[in-house]
């Protein structure tokens, strides 16, 4: 995209009917580190790549718990993402307080989208520079949505956002038809594999990614380093075995554990 005379104001249309400021905001999403989301009938998995400013600093938090039944992964301006997460938490908890019942994720997503739209139609505001993958439950099961700075939202079987997300999307496109009926463990494995695609050859280590799960009978929570590493080991091992001549995969569906202590190389703010 090149600079043009219609891109200064969010409230200026271009002659071809585009709002360039909104499109530039969507570019900001593409610059952030990758995040992927997948869902089955009963579970949603959100995973992200841990990017740190430098070796000295901790990595940025990209996945947030909104409620027991809703989580969000962001890509783009993390500060904007944090603010929107706080809004989502607020909406969710207010609904819970009044109705003693979880806010259906579809309704939260619409409110979020309407909030984003406001910023595309006020001259004194700017669009939020963050894309949100919202995973959550409602009466009909598990859902995954993508909220855009433009104020649009879409429901997905699986999606990836951020830098090098195209590689993850290609992987997901090949396999998404099986996700609906996937088991929880397979879904987690596919999420980590999708993240691996975005690393372009870099070795996949559990310290490089954050994985979170929520399900119909499972409140939102993060997987610990050990559990993630175990899943990584199953397919890294397969790669080795294939080099040795293709034995059957021994631990393809090893259940992933939750809870427990992290490793020593975990940054202090990592979940």
């Amino acid at each position: 995209m090149f600079r043009n005379q219609y891109d200064t104001d969010v409230t200026t249309w271009s002659p071809t009917g585009r709002l360039f400021q909104v499109e530039y905001a969507m570019e900001a999403v593409k610059q952030g580190s990758a995040a992927v989301g997948l869902r089955s009938r009963s579970h949603v998995v959100l995973a992200s790549v841990n990017k740190a400013q430098s070796e000295l600093s901790s990595h940025q938090r990209k996945i947030f718990k909104v409620d027991d039944h809703i989580g969000v992964a962001i890509a783009g301006l993390t500060a904007d993402g944090r603010v929107l997460s706080r809004y989502m938490r607020s909406e969710s908890i207010n609904h819970s307080f009044t109705y003693e019942s979880p806010l259906p994720v579809g309704r939260l997503v619409v409110r979020l989208a309407d909030k984003a739209q406001v910023c595309t139609q006020r001259s004194w505001k700017r669009p939020y520079g963050v894309g949100l993958l919202v995973g959550g439950l409602d009466e009909s099961g598990a859902h995954l949505y993508y909220n855009c700075p433009s104020g649009n939202y879409f429901e997905y079987e699986a999606f990836a956002i951020g830098s090098r997300s195209q590689a993850a999307k290609t992987y997901l496109e090949r396999r998404f038809e099986s996700f609906k009926e996937s088991s929880r463990e397979d879904l987690i494995k596919d999420a980590i594999l999708a993240i691996r695609e975005t690393l372009q050859g870099e070795t996949l280590k559990s310290s490089l990614c954050t994985v979170s799960v929520l399900g119909v009978d499972e409140p939102f929570h993060f997987l610990d380093q050990e559990s993630i590493q175990k899943v990584i080991d199953t397919f890294e091992k397969v790669a080795e075995e294939e080099e040795d001549g293709g034995e059957a995969q021994a631990e393809a569906d090893a259940p992933v554990e939750q809870g427990g202590a992290g490793d020593q190389d975990v940054a202090p703010m990592e979940m």
Binding site: F97, Y99, E100, S101, P104, R107, D138, E139, S140
Partner: protein
């Protein structure tokens, strides 16, 4: 055509004239509601009377109404406040339906919403003068709860308001059990309503029974209970003890 401009006297707590805008006493009131959970859902009974103080003034007031697809609301106390609550709930259900997304408000959500409304009004010293009974069924689960005008709220297998608390609940405590059939439930409610009819002076002999199941709400046509006044003790009631009683 004339219409009055509503007078806004300001803060209902600090301004003396504004006092006339707060609820101080009830005027037209409904008496007890009795409700029980049964095998297929919830049964609720109420009479159709609206008292104006000690006068049994209105005889055709429906004090039970369906709310959305899954709930039934019964009210005792000030009838105009009940109508106000129905307007709030109408708006709530309307907005819920407008989402058109497969999610709907169940009885638990409505009960908690009403609890918030009643409690907040009580905190402003401007209560809705009702005791509400909220029953319903959603996804096979029965729900029955109550909210009072001061925001006291709870769920139970059987509830009653007003005089029903004193006259009906002892009967229910003895005779209610899980998985009552429809006929058993109706008989039990009629037993309670008969006692109330004999002993509650604001009760009238014209009642409705409402049923809510997974399929929906049905409110019966009004009917009356058979009563018996020929007990020997009613003849010469003061025979045993002279007095002004």
């Amino acid at each position: 055509m004339t219409f009055t401009i509503p007078i806004d006297n300001g803060d209902a707590l600090k301004n003396a004239e504004a006092d006339s805008q707060r609820t101080l006493y009830p005027y037209v009131t409904g008496t007890s509601i009795v409700a029980i959970k049964y095998k297929d859902g919830v049964l609720m009974a109420s009479d159709m009377g609206g008292s104006y103080g000690s006068t049994l003034r209105y005889k055709n007031i429906e004090r039970m109404k369906a709310i959305g697809k899954h709930s039934l609301l019964g009210a005792s106390g000030e009838i105009s406040d009940f109508q106000e609550i129905l307007r709030y709930l109408d708006e709530l259900v309307l907005n819920d339906n407008m989402w058109d997304d497969g999610n709907s408000l169940g009885p638990k959500e409505v009960h908690n919403y009403l609890t918030r409304v009643m409690y907040n009004r009580r905190n402003k010293f401007n209560p809705l003068w009702n005791t509400l009974v909220l029953g319903g069924v959603k996804n096979g689960e029965s729900y029955l709860g109550m909210v009072s005008m001061i925001g006291v709220s709870f769920e139970d297998n059987h509830v009653a308001t007003g005089f029903g608390n004193h006259l009906a609940r002892p009967i229910l405590r003895d005779e209610w059990h899980a998985d009552l059939s429809f006929e058993e439930g109706v008989k039990l409610l009629e037993k309670c309503m008969r006692v109330l009819l004999y002993r509650d002076r604001s009760a009238i002999n014209k009642l409705q029974i409402a049923k809510i199941t997974e399929e929906g709400v049905t409110v019966s046509q009004p009917y009356s209970l058979k009563t018996f006044w020929e007990f020997k003790a009613f003849n010469n009631p003061t025979a045993g003890a002279e007095g002004s009683w």
